[in-house]
């Protein structure tokens, strides 16, 4: 969007937010409608399609056997990759991952890794030689803002949906046994993202808000209500008070949103 358009829009959006309103009639701390569909891709061990308003993200989980990292010889491996697919937005271009998709993948990865969501210690087949590798591929299908929360949510839903083959070691060879077991999941990280627009904070920014925001803040909470990951983005800044206030709101929001994915 041209910078003139951004400035016109910014004024309009900021004026509304100053009065506690938003262009799409939400309250500052409201999420858009969230729909989660799991098991959408039968060929993947786990999958989930999340719609956050018009933003749409599909996550597929593939499971394979490979070598562990040398510093964690008895743990399975988790990898996250994100594709900003060109059909999802006029601003996405085909080609190798750019800094935006790398950042998105790394934020999602950090939430899962730091909350120890995947019980990687249960994914070791032969210490130092063979472990289970969990590939989490984030596929953005439609970009209408807040890809981080949609992707984080879809990744968690897909992990909870994942059923993998039973692997066993027989005479140094990895064998697939009949039947499936669920991927061991210990924690449920939920990312909550804020946009700062003209000094005010709103959750779940949609595209038009993202285009005019000064800065972005994502806080990921694990199931016990502790913070496990944070990422600031965007060209602006936050005051210390804004950060601490956001943390309290994010903690509450994460409890609400977790209930949509984790049925206990």
């Amino acid at each position: 969007m041209s910078s003139v358009m951004v400035k016109v829009k910014q004024k309009q959006i900021a004026q509304l937010i100053a009065h506690g309103k938003r262009l799409d009639n939400r309250e500052p701390n409201d999420y858009r409608d969230i729909q989660i569909e799991v098991g959408f891709i039968e060929k993947a061990e786990g999958s989930a399609r999340v719609r956050l308003g018009k933003t749409e993200v599909l996550v597929g989980v593939k499971v394979d056997v490979g070598e562990p990292f040398s510093d964690t010889p008895e743990e399975g491996v988790q990898t996250v990759n994100a594709e900003l697919v060109p059909l999802a937005s006029p601003s996405f271009e085909p080609g190798p991952p750019d800094e935006n998709s790398i950042e998105l993948a790394r934020i999602v990865d950090r939430g899962i890794r730091e909350s120890k969501a995947i019980a990687t210690e249960e994914l070791c087949l032969e210490p130092g030689k063979k472990v289970i590798i969990v590939f989490i591929d984030v596929y953005v299908l439609n970009h209408d803002g807040n890809l981080i929360d949609a992707s984080g949510l879809a990744a968690l839903a897909a992990l909870l949906n994942t059923k993998m083959a039973k692997y066993e070691i027989e005479g140094g060879e990895v064998k697939k046994k009949p039947g499936y077991v669920p991927l061991p999941i210990k924690n449920y990280p939920i990312p909550i993202t804020f946009a700062k627009i003209d000094g005010k904070m709103v959750v779940d920014p949609w595209l038009e808000e993202e285009q005019v925001m000064d800065a972005r803040l994502t806080m990921t909470f694990e199931k016990d209500g502790n913070i496990c990951a944070i990422q600031k983005g965007g060209d602006g800044y936050f005051t210390t008070q804004q950060i601490l206030d956001a943390a309290k709101i994010a903690q509450q929001k994460s409890v609400e949103i977790r209930k949509l994915v984790v049925k206990e």
């Binding site: 910078s3 510093d71 010889p73 991952p97 800094e99 790398i102 950042e103 993948a105 790394r106 950090r110 890794r113 730091e114 909350s115 800065a215 803040l217 694990e222 209500g225 502790n226 913070i227 496990c228 990951a229 944070i230 990422q231 600031k232 983005g233 965007g234 060209d235 602006g236 800044y237 936050f238 005051t239 210390t240 950060i243 601490l244 943390a247 309290k248 903690q251």
Partner: protein
């Protein structure tokens, strides 16, 4: 196994001292120099513990590639790069995903401080080379990068200063070393414009309660304020040298 034995090594001793003898709220020794490269328009060098980082700024200059130029402000481009020999195991010189992410967050942390609108259609190119890494490189990189920008004479609202706080063996600690970061429970890097109370970088990984998080932020901000003094001294020292050279 050696990895396991290493884990058992205590990070804090009975007297509350850390492996390198620091107290919990103590920074590593810091040495900063401004104006260390003759070709760059601005440059600076920092040693923070075993971290050794060099930053150079070129610009404002014609932007390259040209189509990236912005009509209403300068384009800030930033490359954070680690030397292959900077870490224990040789790092491939090709930019890793981590380096690409850090280049982005560092750029976004510096941007709020710079009056980019003074130099439309130009680019300001910042190059950060981590010569030796020992934990907290993104913070030290930010501290030294903002000095290089200042040394290049680029107008700024304030210097950006950064410092990490974290949690090791259940206790909050300032400015984690590599070992503390790896074995510790959490790491919270923060960047600040001290005179504006503006936090321009905030990241975290690990596990902290809300109270711990608030304390970690305050601890980190305190660290920032201490480094800010050293930053200003280093900047002034360069101009004292220039003045003395002129008088001779």
């Amino acid at each position: 196994m050696p990895a396991k034995a290493q884990e058992k090594e205590k990070l804090i001793d009975k007297e509350g001292k850390r492996v390198d003898g620091r107290k919990l709220d103590e920074l590593r020794p810091i040495k900063i120099e401004v104006g260390v490269l003759s070709n760059a328009d601005g440059s600076a060098y920092i040693e923070q513990g075993k971290c050794k980082i060099l930053a150079g700024v070129y610009g404002p200059r014609e932007s390259h590639p040209k189509h990236l130029a912005l009509p209403d402000r300068a384009l800030l481009q930033c490359r954070y790069h680690m030397a292959p020999f900077s870490v224990e195991e040789r790092k491939s010189p090709a930019p890793s995903r981590r380096e690409i992410e850090l280049s982005k967050v560092i750029r976004e942390a510096l941007q709020p401080a710079i009056f980019l609108e003074y130099y439309p259609r130009t680019s300001i190119d910042l190059f950060i080379e981590v010569l030796q890494a020992d934990g907290g490189t993104r913070c030290a990189a930010l501290t030294v990068a903002s000095l290089a920008l200042a040394d290049a004479g680029i107008p700024m609202k304030d210097l950006i200063v950064a410092c990490a706080a974290g949690k090791i063996e259940g206790q909050l600690a300032l400015d984690l070393s590599d070992a503390e970061d790896k074995q510790g429970e959490a790491d919270v890097p923060i960047a600040l414009m001290p005179t504006l109370d503006a936090v321009t970088l905030l990241q975290m990984d690990g596990n902290l309660t809300m109270d711990e998080f608030e304390q970690a932020v305050n601890l980190g901000l305190n660290g920032c304020k201490q480094i800010y003094k050293l930053q200003k001294e280093a900047l002034k020292a360069k101009y004292v040298e220039v003045k003395e050279a002129m008088e001779e």
